[in-house]
């Protein structure tokens, strides 16, 4: 079974036509990979479907806009994968 990171990286690679080997756990989706908000909707759709979750993007964006969180907390891929794992675990709880 692929890791959360591998699944997310494959989704990003296929959705945004980014070479898979350039996508690292420490990559920032926006700052390093240049993914814009529209492409991120496609990625979010694929992630939501793949993991059977609903990533709370509105809440995350609000927290960033309010200065309560940094973009790294949600959009650096290793952190994003941790959030996804938490959502999957919460779903099964």
């Amino acid at each position: 079974m692929p890791s959360t990171f591998d699944t997310v990286a494959n989704i990003i690679s296929e959705t945004c036509d980014i070479p898979r080997d350039t996508i690292k756990p420490e990559s920032h989706a926006i700052n390093d990979l240049g993914i814009d908000s529209l492409d991120f909707l496609d990625i979010a759709f694929a992630i939501d479907k793949a993991f059977g979750i609903k990533m709370p993007l509105e809440q995350w964006t609000q927290e960033v806009n309010d200065g309560k969180a940094t973009t790294e907390q949600y959009f650096q891929l290793n952190n994003l994968c941790t959030r996804i794992d938490e959502l999957v675990a919460a779903k099964g709880a």
């Binding site: 529209l38 909707l41 759709f45 939501d48 479907k49 609903k54 990533m55 709370p56 993007l57």
Partner: protein, 157 residues
């Protein structure tokens, strides 16, 4: 259909919140200045307007599913197929199904049939945002009444 007001559907004929589907109807007008250019001597409903009609149908479904808490704005279109020509005066039967309601976005699959035949279809992505202001929302509620949007269904869905 009132092309000059960008109203591409005439009425909502079915809204199923359990199945997350909607059906609407529209009649392409017999005459419009649009047909003078598209095309002279061979009037056809522009494909982009058929896509907009599918987007409006999908949009009302999203508004219903989110219980009028979010306004859907057209963000992306995939796999759009315009399968046959649509002339003035044509009756359209439109339908949409919600594929996914995400946080701040939604994805639908929509199609249009003419006389029982699939005429066009697409997958549409919307950004969902709060209504920009009270006036905007009031205008959407007025339009909902024009389209016979079943407001009572929101209380039971």
């Amino acid at each position: 259909m009132r092309l000059e007001y960008f109203q591409l559907i005439d009425r909502i004929v079915d809204l199923d919140l359990a199945q997350q589907t909607i059906r609407t109807e529209a009649r392409v007008p017999d005459a419009s200045t649009i047909f003078e250019g598209h095309f002279p001597g061979h009037p056809l409903m522009p494909g982009v307007l058929l896509i907009e009609a599918m987007a409006q149908t999908s949009g009302w479904l999203v508004i219903a599913v989110t219980k009028f808490s979010r306004m859907p704005f057209f963000a992306a279109l995939k796999e759009a197929k315009l399968r046959s020509f649509v002339p003035p005066g044509q009756d359209l039967s439109l339908s949409a199904k919600l594929l996914h309601e995400g946080s701040g976005y939604a994805v639908t699959k929509a199609d249009i049939c003419c006389e029982g035949k699939l005429t066009c279809n697409a997958e549409i992505t919307f950004r969902l945002v709060e209504f920009p202001n009270a006036e905007f929302r009031a205008n959407m509620e007025k339009m909902a009444a024009v389209l016979e949007f079943p407001m009572e269904s929101l209380a039971h869905g």
